[in-house]
């Protein structure tokens, strides 16, 4: 996406909001939903629209875990590290994802297929360890299941 396209998308969305500081977080959330992440131009647009310093937007974006500054992958992998998941080996599952995707948490694979991150409890503690794959919580994801999920993505891609 070019800078101009980002700006256009941002302006289109901003029309639907009142110029109120209280709208900053909802605006950023919806912007991220559209763009997948929050590029610099989008944040600048938001700052201009709300009439607040750009640094205030940046400070909010970097304060909350939800906001991303880098483009996501086609598939999102979120390893739950809530208490129950951790005690049942969520950290082992995270290692397995890191090993297979060759990236660290918070990163995207070079081919932009997968991005890997952790989440602090999705509330499915009884299915621990949980990994949220493309917004769907998958229960009992252990290293062998990691391989299974990756295989199913590979097969799906080959079918296309």
């Amino acid at each position: 996406m070019t800078e101009e396209q980002v700006k256009k998308q941002a302006r289109l969305l901003l029309q639907r909001f009142a110029k109120k500081r209280g709208n900053l977080i909802p605006v950023l959330q919806q912007l991220q939903e559209r763009l997948g992440y929050l590029p610099r131009e989008a944040m600048l647009e938001v700052a201009r629209f709300l009439g607040i310093p750009a640094i205030d937007v940046y400070s909010v974006v970097t304060f909350y875990n939800q906001f991303r500054l880098h483009p996501p992958g086609r598939h999102s992998i979120r390893v739950c590290l809530g208490t129950a998941c951790h005690m049942k080996g969520g950290y082992i599952t995270l290692d397995a994802w890191k090993r297979r995707l060759s990236i660290e948490r918070g990163q995207t694979t070079p081919d932009r297929e997968f991005d890997l991150d952790t989440v602090a409890c999705v509330g499915c503690c009884v299915m621990a360890p949980v990994t949220v794959v493309d917004d769907k919580p998958e229960g009992k994801v252990e290293p062998t299941r990691v391989d299974g999920i990756l295989l199913s993505f590979k097969l799906e891609k080959e079918k296309q």
């Binding site: 109120k20 500081r21 209280g22 709208n23 900053l24 977080i25 909802p26 950023l28 959330q29 205030d56 400070s59 909010v60 304060f63 909350y64 875990n65 939800q66 906001f67 590290l81 809530g82 208490t83 129950a84 998941c85 951790h86 005690m87 049942k88 080996g89 082992i92 290692d95 397995a96 090993r99 989440v119 602090a120 409890c121 999705v122 509330g123 499915c124 503690c125 009884v126 299915m127 621990a128 949980v130 917004d135 769907k136 919580p137 998958e138 229960g139 252990e142 290293p143 062998t144 990691v146 391989d147």
Partner: protein, 635 residues
Amino acid sequence: MKVIKRQGTASAFAVIKKQAESQWRGLRSGKPVITVGTATCGRAAGALEVLRAIKSELKRHKLSCPVVEVGCMGHCYAEPIVTISKPGYPPICYGPVNPVIAQRLVREFVLGDNPCLEFVLGALEKNDFVPSFSDFPRADFEKRIILKNCGHIDPEKIEHYIASGGYSALAKAFKMRPEAVIAGVKGSGLRGRGGAGFSTGEKWEVCRNARGKPKYLVCNADEGDPGAFMDRAILESDPHSVIEGMLIAGYAIGARYGYIYVRAEYPLAVKRTHLALRQARKLKLLGRNVLGSDFSFDIKLFQGSGAFVCGEETALIASLEGKAGTPSHRPPYPATSGLYGKPTLVNNVKTLAYLPHIIQGGGGRFAGTGTEGSKGTAVFALAGKVVNTGLAEVPMGTTLRQVIFDVGSGIKDGKRFKAVQIGGPSGGCLPESALDLSIDFDSLTDAGAMMGSGGMIVLDEDDCMVEIARYFLEFTQRESCGKCTFCRLGTKQMLAVLDEFTRGKGKIEDLDMLVALAEDVKAGSLCGLGKTAPNPVLSTLRFFHDEYEAHIKEGRCPALMCRDLIAYYIIPERCERTCDACVGTCTVEAISSHPTKRYKIIDQTKCVKCGTCLKACPPQYRAVVKLSPPSLVPH
């Protein structure tokens, strides 16, 4: 003060109720009704696939019975759960159900007459045919007030809630003066369920008497404690009970606007709450002139953005104002000066969900349950190494032993109970000797834990207490907003010390430093996050000192959990040489056969200690073992 016009609200509500009841009756017009629990936990277990299987099987047999999506019953261990109510039979719950079982249920029970008893979980009503939930041992200890509707009504249909008695309490509250509503809540002895346990009625009174307009009401659904999921379950299964509670609270304190602050990590709760708000607005239960009265109140949903500290009320308010969620000094309390400097009442999801029950039955009925200082029930999210994971609602005063062993049916796989972690990162780990403690706000705090959000993680002999302390500290350290130096830097130092312990690199004198740091962080932090962050460390130090010593002095993890202190080893004498289960399953190809004797050997330099081989080794051999310290592996 202006007197609120309330005439006519009763008749307006009667019309709504009548319509809802006729729709509810229409659902049960002689045909079997199938319900599927599709809350997040059900979905993780495959409820949507089960739902699709049921629908396609019904279609194949040209059956047209209603299939209803409901929320979570709290029996998470048996998800996905399907309930079939067929005339002539009691409503029967099945679980865990998979698509194949689901299709069989349709063929044999819905179409035929075989209730497939082999898949039954329990019946919802007492009968002499199938064992019912009330025959379960746990039924003697449970008392469902806020979970009453969960898993029984369609959370996406306001009519189901109304037909089950919903919004009647609001209609009743409208017949009372706001002061009388507050008095009723005060009389019930309800204490805030967010964790701190402040008297709800008193908080309301302060807010009602505070100067400033408009007043705001915020429902705190930023359930950030890892291991707690009851607020999610309530919003996904019975969102209208929270909305009704907010309407009652809003009426009592004279609020004009409400917010529900939900975590963005709960997308289904967000979706169902949105829908519930729309439906309530449509029936004029929200908006201008609620039910034709002079009381106007509307609720907006606000999604949190993944910051644990926003569960603290001043941080939550900062977040609503579009700022970074850093807490501020109290007083002034939000009840007098909160959102945009106006009086703001912040209540937890559960606190609000109790209100319809309290107003409907009177404060006395609620106060009749529980202990002297803590009235009503407590909701716990049971997880970890317990058999019946899920939600449990028990009267205050129930003992931990009853919750874990009677409601939860004890520890999985015949293992030994070690500890129970209560209250998440703010709480503590209690050992076996504390199991007979009766649960209420004060007793848990005295014991070194905390009611907190109600997460209850049961730990067995395989769980390392040093590691769990390190885990919680890593969490709070990452989530610390950075405002207070002690919390920002103190937790970092504590984490560094604990990290060394779990790597076997600790020094015994570090234990004293850890305690000193813990006291400083508690004393030097502004909000609950910092004030309680050291609790998991202090409680494990107090009750499990020997485990710390084993890590430090012997480089040994007694629970065989800390990866730097263990090694996986295959005992040659036990290895069945023709079996290749471990070799095939090893994720890093670290296992090979001995060149002549064929037993399997783990290459310790390649092993990532993921434990897959241990699970793969057939139980009759048990050849794979964990050894600690790793030097025990023979060369």
